[in-house]
């Protein structure tokens, strides 16, 4: 599954960069994509992938919403919270999770512990009691 996603990602970058859909270009792109070395890929569940990709689509408007929130109401408190990683995560899914958390402006992942915890840095409006 992730192998196909890898190839699709590379082909997307290639076609976006060249913006050329002639036969020669397609052949070159597919050739380069397949010839480039691939790391060891772990097969994740298709359902997890679809859900995370859906969360990425949701994350963009949410990021803008949070940006407006912290612009309108100043958030001055900083805290560090440990969050548990969802079970059965492959490395690429963990990367997507970290990307999602860091993408929204209120939260940044500081560190990923290999035993299944993220360290997330939050900013808040006021200190939680």
């Amino acid at each position: 599954m992730t192998g196909y996603l890898n190839i699709i990602l590379r082909l997307t970058i290639w076609f976006l960069l060249t913006a050329d859909l002639s036969w020669a270009n397609i052949v070159i792109g597919v050739g380069v994509t397949i010839l480039l070395p691939r790391g060891v890929t772990n097969v994740g569940l298709l359902k997890d992938w679809l859900r995370t990709l859906g969360e990425v689509a949701v994350a963009i408007p949410q990021a803008y919403k949070e940006a407006f929130e912290i612009m309108l109401y100043p958030h001055r408190e900083e805290t560090v919270v440990l969050e548990r990683v969802k079970p059965r995560r492959t490395p690429s899914l963990i990367f997507l999770d970290i990307f999602l958390i860091t993408f929204t402006p209120k939260t940044i992942v500081q560190r990923y512990h290999s035993r299944g915890w993220y360290e997330v840095h939050y900013i808040q409006r006021r200190e939680t009691p």
Binding site: E78, T79, V81, L82, R84, V85, K86, P105, I108, I123
Partner: protein
Amino acid sequence: MINILSYTCIILGLVFWYWGTWPLLGRRSVLYKLHGLSVADTLGSMAIVVGLLLRIPHEWPLLVLALISLSIWNTVLGYVLAYCVTDDGTHDVGQEVGHGG
């Protein structure tokens, strides 16, 4: 119509840029400034690029690539910088255990 929309996006991006970059001059912690920079450099720049995309729709492949690389690179860079700034040791900031959703 498209022109107005594009200018709105670009000016929104500029407001984000100024708002997020201004805290750099203050004396807050690096992590706090990183939050501001993720507003400015990721979201603000994405808004500007979307504004440009509305002006020249025929060049969409490159601008979409610019959007993707902006979001991914800046986010990963924010993570790497946050990782490098904090030590491996314990934190004396209020530490609590939450449940990830």
